[in-house]
């Protein structure tokens, strides 16, 4: 085992081991638990950064483990997985800090943080998966590890949400499984590669491959919350805020989107997809999802529910970018949105959690003038929301810009219109919140003021959203720099030879 | 009682259908059975050829205790299992109080039991060349046991459990022991050394017959002896006795 392989394994272990230890810790040892969590996160980030550098320098990171003929587990660090892994690990660190603050004094923390660590292990596994089987393995495990988090509150409502989440997720997983097996039957074992499988198959098995593609997208679309399959996401917002942040920005939805990227870029490859002619379908679904999510978000009063619908809408940008896979600009836009959406959405969820945890505010109608009570939180929220709308210099603009250019380059004028409408709709549901919070008349009292202290809220709740909000701004403002998500995505696209 | 009700009722629809199906199946099987050509060689020739080396004269005994002794060994275990199973289920429902035994019965038992033991021993011995053997002998022994059991001798209830268990296990254990010894000496499980087959078989048969006899009697007794738990269990309630 060379150092590259060792690194891959230790990346996975760096959160798995703390997770397992945490399960065994008694409830009272919260300091040790926090230290373990944070150490794990920091170690993981450093390891992943090392891997990133290694990848940039051209090292190969690969572990193979054959299971049965044609089926093998393959961990592979390529630029794309580095992107997702870096995003997840960094956001995990922040979410962990946030969760420590959020769950202060609440019961069952060992359990919570244990699953939390497992969850991120699995997410990194998804990032590092080198073929569809490995991806499937971690994809299913993701459902398992997030489920206890979703139902963590233990109320009937959360149980119902958990049930629906499971049903959706496993149905999707089942369809995905069928598709993967079918694909292997047709084209043999497929590793993720820059070109996808040989175009010869497309000539001979066109219809079947197109059907498989549809199945794959359907299967993975459940987690990515593409429109007819999105039902679980708004319900899952009953989970605690760190979990929502995790679901929406770090792990689940992102894993779905990442899966779409993998399928489009690495399994099928641009050339095959163009020959098969299934891309308009993906584009169509993505478009519908973008519009539908935004329209539904308009009607929500519950803040987290609104954010959930906004996620549905935003994540489809990634799918949209992938549907224009022959346009490097669109691919850049889609890929970079993977990171950008994560940053923005996690900020928003952190802030929503802060409102709920500090003042007991769950509904937009109760947010009048809240910015005077919690200016920093609302500033972060504002940045996130503006990013969602796509106002420069936030990262949201960068993604939209590339998507727009890409869709024009592909000759799809109407997609530009969709982007414009989506931005407008985003404005329609985010701006009123901001207005209400900043300029609304403050009420007599807040629903339940839970925290009164030196800062507007606990420091551990305050810092993560500020950091992410700053990143939302900074990553946009220095988008063209040598080290930025955009730069890395360009590197990826170069690697794919687009 | 359900018995009487069943008798007077005519068959309902389901039963007719079932009957029809059974008849169909039996007919079909019968047809198949009758079409099987009688050309199958069977194993008779093989047995005949190897009879010499089996150490016994009776072909059935040779098959049972030499050629396919492994089957027999397991089968003895099956019997023992039945006892263990019945013991695990319940205590023996022997009557609590002494009852009067009619002198005639007493006399018959006293007369018959030794005779039966003798017959059993004869059957076991005879098994090496004629019909007979451990099972037959064991059956007779068992019958003797049953006879004693139905006679309600008071001492039956006081038979300690350990000797009983030893008696039950003796046959199978002896069988396995011999088998292992054979393994040790010849390298084959149950591969009797040259020339010793005859008396080894007889030994096994004797042990098994004893065990089978006790087994059958114990099965008839319908449960574990009462005193197995004596140390722990105060002599409390008996399950409502019900002999078969």
């Amino acid at each position: 085992m060379n150092w590259e392989q060792l690194l891959l394994v230790s990346i996975l272990l760096s959160s798995l081991i703390p997770g397992i230890i945490i399960f065994g810790l008694p409830e009272e040892r919260h300091r040790l638990r926090t230290i373990l969590n944070l150490c794990g996160a920091v170690v993981k980030i450093s390891l992943i950064v090392i891997m990133d550098i290694g990848i940039y320098l051209g090292h190969t990171f690969e572990i193979r483990m054959p299971l049965i003929p044609g089926v093998e587990l393959l961990l592979n660090g390529d630029p794309l997985s580095a992107l997702f892994a870096t995003l997840s690990s960094v956001l995990w660190l922040l979410t962990t800090i946030y969760a420590v603050g959020y769950l202060e004094d609440s019961p069952n923390r060992s359990h919570f943080f244990g699953y939390f660590s497992l969850c991120v292990t699995v997410t990194i596994g998804i990032a590092l998966a080198g073929n569809l089987v490995t991806f499937l393995l971690f994809y299913e495990m993701l459902t398992l590890t997030t489920y206890p988090l979703v139902i963590h509150r233990g109320t009937d409502k959360s149980l119902r949400a958990g049930r629906n989440y499971l049903i959706y997720a496993f149905s999707g997983g089942a369809v995905f499984l069928i598709a993967v097996i079918w694909l292997q039957n047709v084209v043999g074992p497929v590793d993720f590669s820059a070109t996808g499988f040989s175009p010869g198959f497309t000539d001979s098995h066109g219809t079947v491959l197109a059907l498989i593609f549809v199945l794959l997208i359907l299967g993975i679309g459940v987690k990515a919350a593409l429109v007819p399959l999105h039902g679980w996401l708004p319900q899952a917002m009953v989970a605690p805020a760190p979990v929502s942040a995790l679901l929406h920005a770090v792990a689940v939805v992102k894993a779905g989107a990442f899966g779409i990227v993998r399928i489009v870029l690495d399994v099928y490859g641009a050339q095959n997809l163009l020959l098969l002619g299934v891309l308009p379908l993906l584009g169509g679904i993505a478009t519908i999802t973008i519009l539908y999510g935004s329209l539904r978000a308009l009607q929500q009063d519950n803040l987290k529910r609104l954010l959930a619908f906004s996620t549905i809408s935003q994540v489809s940008y990634i799918a949209l970018g992938m549907s224009l896979v022959d346009q490097p600009l669109a691919v850049i836009g889609g890929l970079v949105h993977l990171v950008h959406q994560g940053l923005m959405k996690i900020t928003l969820f952190f802030c929503a959690g802060n409102l709920a945890e500090t003042l007991g505010i769950h509904h937009i109608s109760k947010m009048n003038g809240v910015a005077r009570r919690m200016p920093l939180t609302m500033a972060a929220f504002t940045i996130g929301a503006l990013g969602m709308i796509g106002i420069p210099p936030t990262v949201g603009f960068v993604s939209k810009w590339y998507l727009g250019l890409g869709s024009l380059a592909a000759g799809n004028w109407w997609l530009l219109g969709i982007l414009a409408i989506s931005s407008l709709l985003n404005g329609c549901y985010f701006l009123p919140i901001l207005i209400r919070a900043w300029f609304g008349k403050q009420q007599e009292s807040w629903p339940e003021e839970l925290y009164v202290g030196r800062f507007e809220t606990r420091l551990m709740l305050l810092l993560p959203p500020l950091i992410t909000a700053f990143t939302v701004m900074a990553a946009g403002a220095v988008a063209n720099a040598q080290i930025s998500p955009l730069a890395w995505v360009r590197f990826i696209v170069r690697e794919y030879g687009l | 009682m359900p018995k009487t009700r069943n008798r007077h009722k005519r068959l309902d629809g389901f039963q007719r259908l079932f009957l029809l199906l059974v008849v169909c199946l039996i007919t079909l099987l019968g047809c198949i059975l009758s079409t099987i050509p009688n050309s199958a060689p069977g194993l008779a020739d093989a047995v005949a050829r190897l009879q010499e080396r089996s150490g016994v004269k009776s072909p059935v005994t040779a098959v049972l205790l030499n050629f396919r002794a492994y089957d027999t060994m397991l089968e003895v275990v099956v019997l023992l299992l039945a006892v263990i199973g019945s013991w695990s289920l319940t205590k023996s429902p022997l009557p609590e109080q002494d009852t009067d035994i009619s002198p005639v019965q007493m006399g018959v038992v006293r007369l018959l039991a030794p005779v039966m033991c003798l017959v059993a021993a004869y059957l076991v011995w005879q098994g090496s060349h004629l019909a007979g053997g451990a099972f037959q002998g064991g059956a007779i022994l068992g019958a003797a046991g049953v006879l004693i059991l139905v006679s309600d001798f008071p001492w039956i209830r006081t038979i300690p459990a350990l000797p009983l268990r030893i008696g039950l296990v003796l046959g199978p254990l002896f069988f396995v022991g011999i088998a292992l010894c054979c393994l040790f000496f010849t390298g084959k499980l149950l591969g009797y050394p040259e020339g010793t087959a005859g008396w080894l078989i007889l030994l096994i048969e004797a042990a098994c017959a004893l065990s089978i006899g006790i087994t059958l009697a114990s099965l008839f007794a319908g449960g574990r002896p009462d005193n197995t738990m004596k140390k722990i269990q105060p002599p409390a309630k008996h399950p409502p006795g019900k002999s078969l």
Partner: protein
């Protein structure tokens, strides 16, 4: 040949009769007896296979041995089944036995 067939057919018919009783009658004792009849039927056919017309070779001892073994097994199982049936009858509600089918309580009851 005819003899073999006769025995075999008788065995088969016994098997069928036992089967019919086993299914149709609900009393445990009858069921046990039915199984016994079935096994007798099977043994009968087995014994019949050992038959060889006179002068065409030895009688096949293997089926004999098998039947012996089978009988022993059958005895054991019958004994166990009887004891079990007794215990069931003792401990379970008498109504259950009056019902035509074996009751469902076995499945649904809790401790």
């Amino acid at each position: 040949m005819i003899t073999t067939l006769l025995y075999s057919m008788t065995g088969l018919i016994l098997f069928g009769m036992g089967l019919f009783t086993l299914i149709v009658h609900s009393h445990p004792l009858r069921k046990i007896l039915a199984v016994n009849v079935m096994s007798t039927g099977v043994f009968l056919i087995l014994i019949a296979t050992a038959y060889t017309p006179l002068g065409q070779g030895e009688v096949d001892p293997v089926p004999h041995a098998m039947v012996l073994t089978g009988i022993v097994v059958s005895v054991s199982v019958t004994a166990l089944a009887l004891i079990l049936a007794c215990r069931v009858q003792e401990t379970s509600n008498l109504d259950l036995l009056k019902k035509k089918t074996v009751p469902e309580t076995a499945k649904e009851s809790t401790t």
